[in-house]
């Protein structure tokens, strides 16, 4: 946090404009980690495919966690899978973001009541930035989720700590 923090006093024009450039780059290049778990993965694939084309926004699928910025948790997280998700999240390089796609990843979804093997929400094991509701969310919803994440990234400050 704040690698130039003590070099300058307070927010100044260099830090803020550098921040802007960095955030512009980060928000416009959200490479997502292909992390298909269940039904939502099909919608994720459909979003990346011809009609919806996620690549328009600079989002590119990566299959190795090391090269991804965003982990899209798409689908039901089971207890058997949970530790693997944690591991994969740890393997990602900072700055990293998590989008929880679909009701199952948000809260267990339809498996909430009797699902003895379903984790009730992926936020129990990894920090989640954006929740996308829906079972499964439509491709438009996923795109909206990515846009919201862009907004979130643009408000970040990686060089100076916010005054508040």
């Amino acid at each position: 946090m704040g690698i130039l923090e003590h070099k300058f006093s307070g927010d100044n024009v260099i830090i803020t404009s550098l921040d802007k450039v960095i955030n512009w780059a980060r928000s416009n290049s959200e490479w997502y980690f292909q992390f298909g778990l269940a039904c939502c993965a099909i919608e994720m694939m459909a979003t990346a495919a011809a009609r919806h084309d996620l690549e328009r926004f600079g989002a590119m699928p990566r299959s190795s966690p090391r090269q991804a910025d965003v982990m899209l948790v798409t689908g039901t997280v089971t207890l058997k899978m949970a530790t693997r998700i944690q591991r994969l999240y740890q393997q990602m390089a900072d700055p990293k973001y998590v989008i929880s796609m679909g009701s199952c990843a948000n809260s267990g979804g339809p498996y909430w009541q009797h699902g003895y093997h379903v984790l009730k929400g992926v936020d129990q094991i990894v920090p989640v930035d954006i929740y996308i509701p829906g079972c499964p969310p439509r491709p438009e919803a996923l795109i909206e989720g990515l846009m919201r994440l862009q907004v979130k990234i643009r408000e970040e400050s990686s060089l100076a700590r916010k005054a508040s």
Partner: protein, 417 residues
């Protein structure tokens, strides 16, 4: 070029106090920096082009939002990669892991030293230029094996092993197919190879259709050699259908699996630098390098005829399929054709800048590589080896003999003294 540059600097007032040696060193470093900038820009542009080309082939749009038509997309990507965490896995070999990507980049970067971009524009005009480029670009494999091994990841290891086998095998068809051209021209100097392809002659020497004297049109054997070179070179730079070292659906990301951030960006940089080297080498050895096909009157006539034919074909067949895209290229081509047909002098002027021509030729080859990548499935390891050792190698060998026979038939060499 370095010497010329250095002596120019010495003549230049403000720098005249420099001695010859410092001036040469300065010139060298400036050229190196220029090449490095070229390599970086090359990757930025090619990644963008590749994403767009793939998108259009896949009925998508590709990057759209960042900058006009998404042109700044790769800039954003590069910046982001620079700022990402650089992970070195705990059980990785720390030195090799760090050094590997740099060696790969260095190998592809240094190869540009002998590439002639234009008449007189060659960083190092060496007599063994072709040999140098071919040998230095295979140093890449050392970097790949290093980084694959150092990652301490099984997928990376597989990628590295496959890559080692592949690049070493495909060196041979690459060398033999280039040798066919060398046999004709009799030199390894790239500038001389280009110079020998000047002018316009008959297609395949005997068929009375005017064609540029490029080696790909020189004889059927050299045409074949060009095809072999393109196939083998595609394998050399690890692109589909020969991308088994990083095959995404099999090995996650092959030897790059454990790399993140800037080091991974280096792989990208070198991948596209390699593609550029291959494309440029194809252009130089088989497509006449910076030679323009319209450099003289006959050439201009040839060019005009072929362009007119192309434009007609394009208009008739393609325009009805791709409505929006075709108007501008056709318009440009037609306009150029008409103007050049009326004013041959203009055509010759159009033909002069070698840099433009080598860029066009290289671009066409790179587009071919992309076309391969987005349409073909991937070969298996053993099929890849089979193709190299049992198909390309014998053909290349016979082809080399064929070139000799051809030269004897056309009188370029004679058996008695």
């Amino acid at each position: 070029m370095i010497d010329a540059f250095a002596s120019w600097m010495l003549q230049f007032g403000a720098l005249s106090w420099l001695g010859t040696t410092p001036a040469t060193i300065l010139a060298m470093s400036l050229v190196a920096v220029a090449i490095f900038i070229f390599v970086a820009l090359n990757a930025l542009v090619l990644v963008y082009v590749e994403r767009k080309v793939s998108a259009f082939m896949q009925v998508r749009l590709g990057p759209m939002r960042v900058g006009p038509m998404g042109t700044l997309q790769t800039v954003a990507d590069a910046l982001k990669l620079l700022l990402k965490e650089d992970i070195i896995p705990r059980f990785a070999d720390p030195i090799l892991f760090r050094v590997g990507p740099w060696i790969i980049l260095l190998a592809s970067f240094v190869a540009f030293a002998a590439v002639p971009f234009s008449p007189g524009w060659v960083p190092a005009d060496m007599s063994i230029g072709l040999f140098y480029v071919v040998s230095i670009s295979s140093v890449v494999v050392i970097g790949i094996v290093m980084s694959g091994w150092a990652s301490n990841n099984k997928w990376s290891l597989y990628g590295a092993m496959r890559s080692a086998a592949q690049i070493v095998s495909y060196e041979i068809p690459v060398g033999l197919s280039l040798l066919a051209a060398v046999a004709v021209v009799g030199t390894l100097n790239l500038q001389e190879i280009i110079a020998a392809q000047a002018g316009v002659g008959n297609l395949f020497h005997w068929i009375p259709i005017p064609f540029p004297n490029w080696y790909i049109f020189h004889s059927p054997f050299l045409f074949l050699a060009g095809c072999i070179y393109l196939i083998a070179a595609t394998a050399e730079v690890n692109r589909t259908p020969f991308d088994i070292p990083e095959s995404e659906s099999e090995l996650v990301a092959g030897f790059m699996t454990e790399y993140s951030g800037i080091r991974w960006a280096l792989f990208f940089l070198s991948e596209y630098a390699n593609a550029a080297v291959v494309a440029l080498l194809t252009a130089i050895v088989f497509l006449g390098g910076w030679q323009s096909p319209f450099a003289d009157l006959a050439g201009a006539r040839f060019g005009m005829i072929s362009l007119t034919v192309l434009a007609l074909i394009w208009t008739i067949f393609v325009k009805y399929k791709v409505k929006r895209l075709s108007i501008y290229p056709i318009g440009t081509i037609l306009a150029l054709t008409v103007i050049a047909w009326l004013f041959p002098a203009f055509a010759i002027w159009l033909a002069t800048p070698g840099l433009v021509w080598i860029a066009i030729k290289g671009g066409v080859v790179i587009f071919l590589l992309m076309w391969f990548r987005w349409t073909f499935p991937r070969l298996r390891v053993d099929q890849l080896m089979y193709l190299s050792w049992k198909v390309l190698l014998p053909i290349a060998l016979i082809n080399l003999a064929g070139v000799a026979v051809w030269m004897w038939l056309t009188g370029a060499i004679s058996l008695v003294g």
